[in-house]
């Protein structure tokens, strides 16, 4: 059923984004609202690499990760000077700046025209053109990202992140250079978003700046918060719910223009209700204090 496969692919792309962001927000407690910027860098790296430089898909994924790592390192250094809501606001700023660059750097991103005709990935001669095969690739990449996230979460590093979330200053006194940890997880999370971006570009075969706006970052944050901060399985539930919501509304038979606004109302209302009654999210472990 190509429609179900299409939804599954979108689910895995957003699950990768959610897992990356959960490491930053759920584990380290850094409210970053600029994840879509790194998602965009990955997408544009792949689009430009495939279209102009004839690089293979997997090479473009690595290129995307490298560029995103550098950009997120710089962004992370600036952001590490801020706390809580100032951090969130400054991260709003990075997303807006990145979006303006995607929109106005015409020579590379072709601005609002977007980049059409991005080829599907190919490996040793086999191209993932059919959706079923692309779904397999998406599952493999998601598996790798999830395994890495799981590995990080259960390592001493993961435990240090949680301690940072709980009481950063107290942890510092016990010999931890907290800024390095925050920077490291920020870059790792950003790199994961870049992978999702490469997948998205090569799947939809056309990208334009509108998919990497501030609202997209807020949407990914909603996935993580709804699913549950500090729980990777929670992010999967959050992604599944928020990807399915508009599709279910499609079949509920609401008049189409009301349906889209209904989606916004439901997802906004859920954010409010979760904060009031269940800050842990669906399967969360960390209760946002």
């Amino acid at each position: 059923m190509p429609y179900l496969i299409h939804i599954a692919i979108l689910f895995f792309i957003y699950a990768i984004l959610g897992v990356g962001l959960n490491l930053i927000v759920g584990y380290a407690g850094l409210l970053s609202v600029t994840h879509a910027a790194f998602y965009g860098i990955g997408a544009y790296a792949t689009a430009v690499a495939l279209a102009h430089y004839g690089l293979g898909f997997f090479a473009s994924v690595i290129l995307g990760i490298v560029i995103t790592a550098i950009v997120s390192l710089l962004a992370g250094m600036v952001l590490s000077k801020f706390k809580d809501d100032y951090y969130a606001l400054a991260s709003f700023g990075f997303n807006v700046i990145a979006f303006s660059i995607f929109l106005n750097w015409e020579s590379v991103t072709k601005g609002p025209l977007g980049i059409p005709g991005i080829d599907r990935p190919s490996l040793f001669g086999f191209t993932f053109s059919a959706n079923e095969t692309f779904l397999a690739l998406a599952v493999v990449l998601f598996g790798a990202v999830y395994a890495l996230a799981h590995f990080i979460a259960n390592s001493s590093f993961g435990r240090v992140l949680k301690a940072i979330r709980e009481d950063e200053k107290a942890l510092e006194v016990f010999g931890y250079k907290v800024a390095y940890f925050k920077l490291a997880i920020f870059v790792i999370g950003a790199a994961m978003a870049s992978i999702a971006g490469s997948l998205f570009a090569s799947y939809i075969t056309y990208i334009d700046p509108s998919s990497f706006s501030l609202n997209e970052s807020i949407f990914i944050l909603a996935i993580v918060i709804m699913g549950g901060l500090g729980s990777l399985r929670g992010t999967l539930a959050g992604a599944l719910f928020l990807i399915l919501l508009p599709e279910i509304l499609r079949f509920v038979g609401l008049p189409t223009d009301i349906a889209a606004q209904m989606r916004q109302i439901i997802y906004g209302a859920i954010l409010v209700l979760l904060m009031l009654y269940r800050p842990k999210g669906f399967i969360g472990e960390y209760e946002v204090k």
Partner: protein
């Protein structure tokens, strides 16, 4: 030989001198009490000595030769200093076990990524938690513990710093900021024995406390502070008998 000494130490908060030219020495291997009425600068002193607050002026000397203007919080442990907090600061939504493990594990980003806690770690955690009687509660979240248990967990965390092989130097200077406040007698006994053991092990203890009986029982030396200055210092019995110390406490 003094483990840590301050010279003309100042700490001003927008005009108010919390510490006003304090020069004191904490002798190696001794328990030194710090007493004084509320707001006399005791906690500020501990915060400066543990790098939580940068001093406005003056110098700190650690181990007799390492002289420094201020101390970065993340370097405190590497100078062998560790502390507890007046209001308990634990990692609330982490288990008791994790609260201790986090102090025993790798301090570098790269190292910690590839480190999993193993039997060696668990043994150290067991000894430390059994010492304060919290081993059975190890899988509880810190914020679910009672007030007394949370105080004991902080003590356990500080004890764990003597087993932390990633710091390259076991903790040698212990700052206790009102560890006994609001505890039941049997918990007080536990902490008293811990402090005595630390002293026998040649560690330096700096104890902020209001309970004069405990001060007399534990301290070899006593420092009395009042509005950021050194009011008096010496043997506990001798110092506590002084008129101006009593006046400072009871107020004119």
């Amino acid at each position: 030989m003094d483990a840590i000494r301050t010279k003309e130490l100042h700490k001003h908060f927008s005009g108010v001198a919390a510490i006003d030219g304090l020069s004191v020495a904490f002798e190696q291997g001794k328990v030194t009490g710090v007493v004084g009425p509320n707001g006399s600068g005791k906690t500020t002193l501990v915060n400066v000595l543990s790098g939580m607050l940068p001093p406005t002026a003056g110098v700190m000397v650690i181990g007799g030769e390492r002289e420094m203007k201020g101390l970065r919080a993340s370097d405190t442990a590497y100078h062998g200093i560790t502390r507890t907090f007046q209001e308990v600061r634990l990692f609330e939504q982490m288990t008791v076990l994790d609260n201790i493990l986090v102090v025993l594990t790798e301090r570098s980003v790269w190292g910690s990524l590839f480190e999993r806690h193993n039997a060696g770690h668990m043994k150290k955690v067991e000894t430390v938690l059994t010492r304060v009687g919290l081993w059975e509660k190890r899988s509880q979240l810190a914020h679910n513990l009672s007030y007394g248990q949370r105080k004991l967990l902080e003590i356990a965390r500080v004890l764990a710093m003597t087993h932390s092989d990633h710091i390259g130097q076991d903790a040698s200077i212990f700052l206790f900021d009102e560890p006994f406040a609001g505890l039941f007698p049997e918990m007080i006994k536990v902490i008293v024995s811990v402090i005595k053991e630390l002293k026998e092990a040649g560690k330096t203890v700096i104890l902020i406390e209001h309970n004069m009986n405990l001060i007399r029982e534990l301290c070899d030396h006593l420092i009395v502070m009042d509005s950021g200055k050194l009011l008096a210092e010496g043997k506990p019995d001798h110092v506590l008998a002084k008129r101006e110390v009593i006046e400072a406490y009871l107020g004119e």
